[in-house]
């Protein structure tokens, strides 16, 4: 279980996240929703340790707060970041190799497995990842994040900037991951899709948690949905 307690994140002197609490139980998919600038990515960055934060982040009853980024990854956390951030100058295959840096055992088998799941990545295995389309890069980013066989996957805006058809492919992929019992914290602006996939959801705005609950409860609240779309 990933447990975030009283998390505060600062960008310079500005506090972006004002003491939030989040829990992600093992085997569940939890959604973190909210409009642009709500503090979703800041929260993810604080969990992985790439930004400084106050409060505590614990995973499987182990306090991660004082650990380095690398040690948190080693503890079983993995991230598919906002903007995908594939290694554009490395080939598709090299991206996956590097993604599995911590689990060298059977790495090539796992890569072959991914190429079976996404034949398009297999076809382009020797191509620089920068030449892939947005959707392909997103598939690669998620596959790369899973190469270390993490216990929890943080998915930051996987559908951002993708055509609706491609985005639904990505959501289909997340659904499959869920069926494999991979623990997921899903950050999304596309609330409809995210709520369909998740077991529990938090609604974040201006660095505060505005609401939390089962997807069916949150999905019915028009005030929250209006916040997301900006239509009031």
């Amino acid at each position: 279980m990933l447990r975030v307690r009283n998390l505060r994140v600062y960008h310079g002197i500005i506090e972006a996240v004002h003491g939030i609490n989040i829990e992600v139980p093992l085997g569940k998919c939890v959604a973190l929703l909210g409009p642009n600038g709500a503090g979703k990515t800041s929260t993810i960055s604080a969990i992985t340790g790439v930004v400084k934060s106050e409060g505590s982040v614990s995973f499987e009853d182990r306090n991660l707060s004082s650990l380095s980024v690398e040690d948190r990854i080693k503890a079983g956390i993995s991230v598919s970041p906002e903007g995908r951030r594939v290694f554009a100058n490395l080939t598709v295959e090299e991206n996956l190799v590097l993604g599995g840096a911590l689990k060298p055992k059977c790495r090539s088998d796992r890569i072959a497995e991914w190429f079976k799941t996404f034949p398009i990545l297999g076809e382009r295995r020797a191509q620089p990842a920068g030449t892939l389309s947005g959707g392909e890069q997103q598939m690669l980013a998620i596959a790369r994040a899973l190469m270390n066989e993490p216990k929890i996957l943080l998915l930051d805006e996987p559908s951002l900037g993708l055509a609706p058809k491609i985005a639904s492919q990505i959501f289909e992929m997340i659904k499959n991951l869920k069926q494999e019992n991979i623990t997921i914290l899903l950050v999304e602006q596309n609330a409809t899709q995210a709520l369909k996939l998740s077991d529990y959801a938090y609604f974040l705005n201006n660095g505060h948690i505005l609401a939390e609950g089962k997807p069916e409860e949150l999905g019915g609240r028009e005030d929250l949905m209006a916040e997301l779309t900006g239509i009031t």
């Binding site: 980024v69 995908r84 951030r85 290694f87 490395l90 590097l98 840096a101 890069q137």
Partner: protein
């Protein structure tokens, strides 16, 4: 014919030396954005180690060479640990000033603790003899230097393409944070980069010392200046650019030496840098500058 071949060998040898040093600068720059001006002092450390090894009566020149290269590697890794790690994530200017500071401290240490005057090392003169290549006599040292550089470049390419740390270093040049998020330790990547940089400086040091036969506190200044120029010409941060820039600079330098009349002999460097300036006018980012778009990172 012989004259032309000899000049080509000159250009290759100069170019190889610049390429080795430029690669050493570029590999550190590509991952941490630091122009390591203390690179020249790493060469000097190698030179002084040769003096010490020879003085300790190691008659075997291989021991002298091995000691110099080892010392350069150790010095480079130590500098990373002591001087550059604390400023790793600081502003690039801070890193640059740190490099200048380290460079001055080391030069002054050589002045104070060793000697301001050149010290001769004769152990490497055995590398220099004349080889008959199909009727054309060339210097063995130049041949070795060109060959060593080619071997080093091939090994470095294999390392960067075939090993996990090599992949991590290439990826780190675009997005270091994402490399850390894959679980690769930043400390290890930096240490390896400086280790390779020191190794390249150590190998270059062997050839510089074999040619000059002596070491003084400012041994590294000129070579590093040239390596810096080679990096700029090739495109700073690009490893192929560093190699290309190094060989190009060697070729232009030899061409100027050959073509300039005797009366302008002292102005070779001025002409070389003039040509480089024109080149940069045409390609301000260097010939093989890394593309400005950095993945999908915004």
């Amino acid at each position: 014919m012989e004259y032309v071949v000899q000049q080509i060998m000159n250009a290759l040898a100069f170019g190889a030396e610049y390429a080795l040093l430029a690669l050493g600068l570029a590999i550190v720059f590509s991952i941490m954005g630091l122009v390591n001006f203390a690179h020249g002092e790493i060469i000097a450390v190698g030179g002084y180690t040769m003096v010490a090894a020879a003085a300790l009566a190691f008659k075997n020149p291989m021991i002298v060479i091995g000691a110099a290269i080892t010392a350069a590697v150790v010095a480079s890794v130590t500098l990373e640990r002591v001087a550059f790690r604390p400023v790793r994530y600081a502003d690039p200017t801070t890193g640059l000033l740190t490099a200048f500071g380290v460079s001055m401290i080391l030069q002054n240490l050589f002045l104070l603790l060793v000697s301001p005057r050149p010290i001769t090392v004769t152990s490497l003169f055995f590398l220099e003899w004349s080889i008959d290549l199909g009727g054309v006599r060339v210097s063995s040292l130049q041949l070795f230097e060109a060959l060593a550089t080619i071997v080093v470049i091939i090994l470095l390419m294999l390392f960067l393409r075939r090993t996990l740390l090599g992949l991590a270093m290439r990826a780190a040049s675009l997005d270091f944070e994402m490399v850390r998020l894959s679980g690769v330790r930043a400390n290890r990547v930096f240490a390896i980069a400086f280790m390779i940089s020191g190794l390249l400086a150590g190998i270059a040091c062997v050839f510089i010392m074999a040619r000059r036969g002596s070491v003084d506190p400012h041994l590294g200044f000129d070579p590093v200046l040239k390596a810096f120029v080679a990096c700029v010409v090739g495109g700073f941060g690009s490893l192929p650019g560093a190699v290309l820039g190094g060989f190009l600079l060697g070729a232009v330098e030899v061409a100027m030496l050959v073509m300039l009349p005797q009366s302008l002999g002292g102005m070779t460097d001025a002409f070389v840098f003039g040509i480089i300036a024109l080149l940069l006018f045409w390609r301000p980012d260097g010939l093989l500058a890394p593309r400005s778009e950095k993945g999908d990172k915004h």
